[in-house]
Subunit: 196 residues, 2 copies
DNA sequence: CGTCTATTTGAATGTACTCAAAAGCGGTGG
DNA sequence: CCACCGCTTTTGAGTACATTCAAATAGACG
């Protein structure tokens, strides 16, 4: 294991404390509900039609989350990485089949929590529920931005946005993966890059 | 005023209780933090570059929320109506200038809450905070769906989706408004309708 | 009734897609 | 260490969906 327990507990605690105050006791209670999971490059965290049983905090690693539309096409929603959460929220909450695929682009280390554990924590810790309220709000805001960027539908400007927002991801992803995020074909993406 | 107080209090309480349990006392505490607002057709609830000071529950009415992109183009995000919430969440939470415009398509009646009142309520009522956690989750899920639908970017299928999802809105909106929701020009929308 | 906005129609244009095929690159096994 | 396989990237031709611009027509509202 690349890090020892206390290191990533610290990292996770910092993550929580960026949003809510948590004392030692509360953190103990919280961390006990999480389990650690390793996942290797190219493995799936979630396959289409599976139910998403965990929300996962990413200690380390990079994922690609794609959504599958009615015609079976895949569209990349985002590339969750260190210090983010990954999962299909809809599937998790409704306990229904997911239309998403979550895939490890790099070896990863996760802290996972099940729905029942999460709901128990909500009942005993308002701070924890507040944390997830704020996370959900952040997610909604990010998606709203994403939607707006998608409307101004010029692939080039979308690429610039992406590069500005995630400069570090450029070297960690293939052109094909970025094209899928932008919603264009790899062929067109290639031409676009050449033109510049 | 088109309805008396108790009628819309009832409606609002039902709305809350679809998600969390609220006893009489708690509801009293909550409803006190809201104020009623009437808004007429064609008036703005929020103009671009304003800060969104309230989250509003829609007792009655229909709105159009549009986002303005960097090139100044307007894109319709959705058409909030009875029993939904309306506002620019990002602007509300960050107290920053909004890039949205919210516009009353029909005369409307709202229950509004300010940020400070909302945060006070969160502190005294975990049920209320839970309600907004779940609302934020719902919003995120809806936006994710919206994004997916937008990717499968064939205007005709988007129109079918829209009609399926909001059959009742068809008669309440102009073609131009629906075109803006779909992300196509009114001219193209017109041709599309003709073809069918 | 007049004005303003929405809708229709058409022609020219552009952005991105499909399909096909070639070239490049990386990892794996012999 | 090299050769091969599979996947990614490039290139090109043809096409489709949607846009822009302009102008005509229809509708809504005061």
């Amino acid at each position: 294991m690349p890090q020892n327990t206390s290191t990533y507990h610290q990292q996770f605690r910092k993550h929580l404390e960026r949003v809510v105050l948590i004392d030692d006791e509360a953190f103990e209670e919280i961390i006990q509900c999480f389990s650690i999971k390793e996942i290797s490059k190219k493995d799936y965290l979630l396959r289409p039609f599976q139910v998403c049983r965990y929300e996962s905090y990413i200690i380390k690693g990079l994922f690609q989350t794609t959504m599958i539309d009615d015609e079976g096409r895949q569209h990349t929603l985002h590339f969750p990485h260190e210090d983010w959460w990954v999962g299909d929220f809809k599937s998790f909450r409704k306990e229904q089949e997911s239309n998403m695929e979550i895939f490890a682009v790099e070896d990863a280390l996760l802290l996972q929590i099940s729905k029942s554990a999460m709901y128990q924590l909500f009942d005993i810790s308002p701070a924890f529920e507040r944390f997830f309220r704020i996370m959900a709000e952040n997610a909604a805001m990010a998606l709203q931005d994403r939607l707006l960027k998608n409307y101004s539908h010029n692939a080039e400007s979308k690429l610039l946005e992406f590069q500005k927002k995630y400069p570090s991801l450029k070297n960690r992803l293939s052109q094909k993966q970025i094209a899928s995020y932008l919603g264009v074909t790899p062929e067109y993406f290639s031409q676009m890059v050449k033109k510049k």
